[in-house]
């Protein structure tokens, strides 16, 4: 049956081509894959492995294999759980407020006014500020003896806001919000500019008040950007380090001991690399889950323009 043979030959040829295409594809992603393997997967594997050891007080000395029990004991320890709780609090303090403020500033700067460019520059200026600089600025502002903010807040004298267990985390959060506001502002400004003016004109004619226009038109259309800011924000809050290192070093009384700082202290102050590895792996897992959940569930409720 010549027909069938022909088809088979063709089929074989097609499958060979598909194979070749697949091979080319894999070849093209290989550099990225190799980079990930070397800098992400391998270190991750090592960290998981390291978490099975009780490391010595000094890194030149032998470690003891303790097995998965170290994971159990670290994860159930009050220090770890406390730091996780502080991290969640930190995210709750910084993210909604930061995003709301970013949107508010972007709305303000979106007006067509003379000299609005100056405000845009001012609002986005914190992007050019490093965490260290922002932290040092606020450290000075919050100083109980010479700080302007302390003076205005009526907290002059005493040990200061940053040494006050009640206010330390909120204070660090404010610094983080301030530092990130430029980025959020730019993000939201770009998103606002992408919303066609005619939509808002249409809504005005349709009788919507300015709040109604914002809520029913602007905000839904900003939602992809807001979603992006939330993902970046959550990951960012889980990795906030510089401001805490400079402002409070995890204190007072561990009130700013977020997970990443706990890991840092365990590893580089207490030389407890095994414990730090466990906490890092858990942090990784948490962020992975958070990101997956966000993409799985939140994304569905987000409008993406076509």
């Amino acid at each position: 049956m010549p027909d069938r043979r022909r088809r088979t030959v063709l089929g074989r040829r097609a499958s060979r081509r598909a194979l070749r295409e697949a091979a080319t594809g894999y070849l093209l992603v290989l550099p990225a894959l190799a980079t990930f393997a070397v800098f992400v997967f391998y270190p991750l594997g090592r960290a998981i492995w390291l978490g099975l050891y009780r490391t010595s007080v000094s890194p030149n000395l032998p470690s003891t294999y303790v097995g998965p029990s170290q994971y159990a004991s670290v994860v159930s320890s009050s220090a770890f759980l406390g730091s996780l709780w502080r991290t969640i609090l930190f995210a709750v303090f910084t993210m909604p407020a930061g995003i709301a403020l970013g949107i508010a500033l972007a709305m303000l700067a979106h007006q067509r006014l003379r000299g609005i460019q100056v405000f845009r520059t001012v609002f986005s200026s914190t992007v050019a500020t490093s965490t260290a600089v922002a932290s040092v600025i606020f450290f000075t502002l919050l100083d109980p003896q010479i700080g302007l903010l302390s003076y205005w807040l009526g907290k002059k004298g005493g040990a200061g806001i940053l040494s006050d267990p009640t206010f330390a985390l909120p204070a660090v959060s404010v610094v983080s919000i301030w530092q990130n506001i430029g980025f959020t502002f730019i993000l939201m400004s770009a998103a606002l500019q992408a919303i066609p003016d005619t939509l808002l004109d249409a809504a005005r004619l349709d009788g919507a008040s300015s709040w109604h226009r914002f809520r029913s038109v602007t905000l839904p259309l900003l939602s992809p950007t807001v979603f992006f800011a939330i993902v970046v924000g959550i990951i960012g809050s889980f990795q906030a380090f510089g401001q805490i290192d400079i402002l409070t070093q995890g204190g007072p009384n561990n009130h700013t001991m977020v997970l990443i700082y706990y890991i840092y202290q365990s590893a580089f102050v207490n030389n407890d690399y095994g414990l730090a590895a466990v906490a890092s792996v858990v942090l990784f897992a948490i962020l992975l889950v958070v990101t997956l959940v966000q993409f799985r569930f939140v994304e569905r409720r987000v409008f993406y323009a076509t």
């Binding site: 066609p196 005619t198 939509l199 004109d201 249409a202 809504a203 005005r204 004619l205 349709d206 009788g207 919507a208 008040s209 109604h212 029913s216 038109v217 839904p220 259309l221 939602s223 409008f303 323009a305 076509t306």
Partner: protein, 383 residues
């Protein structure tokens, strides 16, 4: 120029009185006065950048005029918020809310006005049925074709029964076929609803076919407001003459020469000399010109008023012949004047007549008097 013999007043659905809108030095709209009758479909037409969309935005209240008064149903609406002007707008981009279903889009103006739910649903269903989009109500705009989006945009405008519709090039994003269908549908819809419509377009064919009256705008100034027939027959100036009609009127420089040319009805003491040929002047034109000291004018003559005529005196060479269905237009080049190429004039070949060949030397004759325009201002001389 204003809306002609109508006095500005309470009888108009929309009345613009001396409207100016400036952006810095530039006047987008310059001292415009226009009355729109209740239930009228007025087409505002002009080339892009002429200020026609700005006029619409001034009526809607999306922009405020720098000077002048806007009235809707007799009441001055300057400074009144768009939502309180009770007009609806259909945008060229449709401006559908992309995150809302069709139903929610149509419902939006009712929600904004806190119309009760039951009434909202009834209205939306009614309008959707009316515009044959009831099967699309659950879709998002992204899942609709251009024509469907257009209908949804219309539905959203119609649903709250405004005092007027403002339509800003609503058909220009549609393909040609659909555009022609929608034109008819819009005219029919407007007649049925009886609502005042101000319809903005840059397409003069659309303007001529849709408007009972059309207002022609150029560089922020109103050029002419009249019925399509009048605009075509008696363009107010050279701009209108060259803008309206397909093909537009041939506008040629001409000189006034002494001596009477007698052809049938026409007789006078002077005649027009165009590119070596001779065109007659009517008595009324003679009288109008008599008051002025002019030696050159712009002569406008429609393609349908020209013909290839062995008796004619204007010599030309056929450049090409275009056919639009039954209609044939010959583009004929007049003799060169100096270094410049001769001007192209459009000549309609009457039904049954032989079409000239490309390159053929012909003579052209006119069977209607030319429109005459001032060469400096472009204004009609025999108004």
């Amino acid at each position: 120029m204003d809306g002609g013999d109508r006095p500005p007043g309470a009888a108009s659905a929309i009345s613009l009185e001396g409207i100016t809108k400036s952006y810095g030095e530039v006047a987008a709209v310059d001292d415009l006065s226009l009355q729109i009758d209740p239930g009228e479909l007025l087409v505002l037409v002009g080339p892009s950048g002429c200020g026609k969309s700005t006029v619409l935005r001034l009526i809607a209240g999306l922009d405020e005029p720098t000077a002048g008064t806007v009235r809707i149903a007799g009441e001055v609406v300057n400074g009144i918020d768009p939502k309180d002007r009770d007009v609806a707008m259909v945008f060229q981009s449709y401006a559908l809310y992309p995150h809302m279903t069709v139903a929610r889009n149509i419902e939006f103006p009712l929600r904004a006005r806190r119309v009760p739910k039951a009434e909202r649903e009834r209205s939306v269903a009614g309008v959707a049925r009316n515009l044959q989009i009831d099967h699309l109500l659950k879709r998002k705009p992204a899942a609709l074709s251009g024509g469907q989006r257009q209908r949804v945009a219309l539905a959203r405008a119609i649903v709250r029964r405004p005092r007027a519709f403002l339509m800003d090039e609503p058909l220009s994003n549609l393909d040609a076929q659909l555009r022609i269908e929608m034109r008819a549908a819009l005219v029919e819809l407007q007649a049925r609803l009886g609502t005042t419509v101000v319809y903005v377009t840059h397409d003069q064919v659309e303007a001529v076919t849709m408007g009972r009256r059309i207002a022609i705008l150029d560089s922020g100034r109103l050029q002419q407001v009249a019925t399509p027939a009048e605009v075509q027959a008696r363009p107010a100036n050279a701009f209108v003459a060259a803008f309206i009609g397909s093909p537009p009127m041939n506008v040629m420089p001409a000189t006034l020469e002494p001596g009477e040319v007698t052809t049938g009805t026409q007789n006078a003491g002077r005649h027009l000399a165009v590119a070596g040929g001779v065109l007659p002047l009517t008595g009324a034109q003679q009288a109008a010109l008599g008051a002025r000291d002019l030696t050159t004018v712009l002569a406008g003559i429609r393609a349908e008023d020209l013909q290839v005529d062995p008796e004619g005196s204007v010599r030309a060479t056929v450049s090409f012949v275009e056919s639009f269905g039954a209609e044939r237009i010959a583009a004929c080049r007049l003799p060169a004047t100096g270094a410049a190429d001769g001007q192209l004039v459009m000549v309609r070949i009457s039904a049954g007549a032989r079409a000239p060949r490309t390159g053929e030397a012909v003579t052209l004759g006119a069977h209607a008097p030319a429109s005459l325009f001032d060469p400096a201002s472009g204004a009609r001389l025999d108004a």
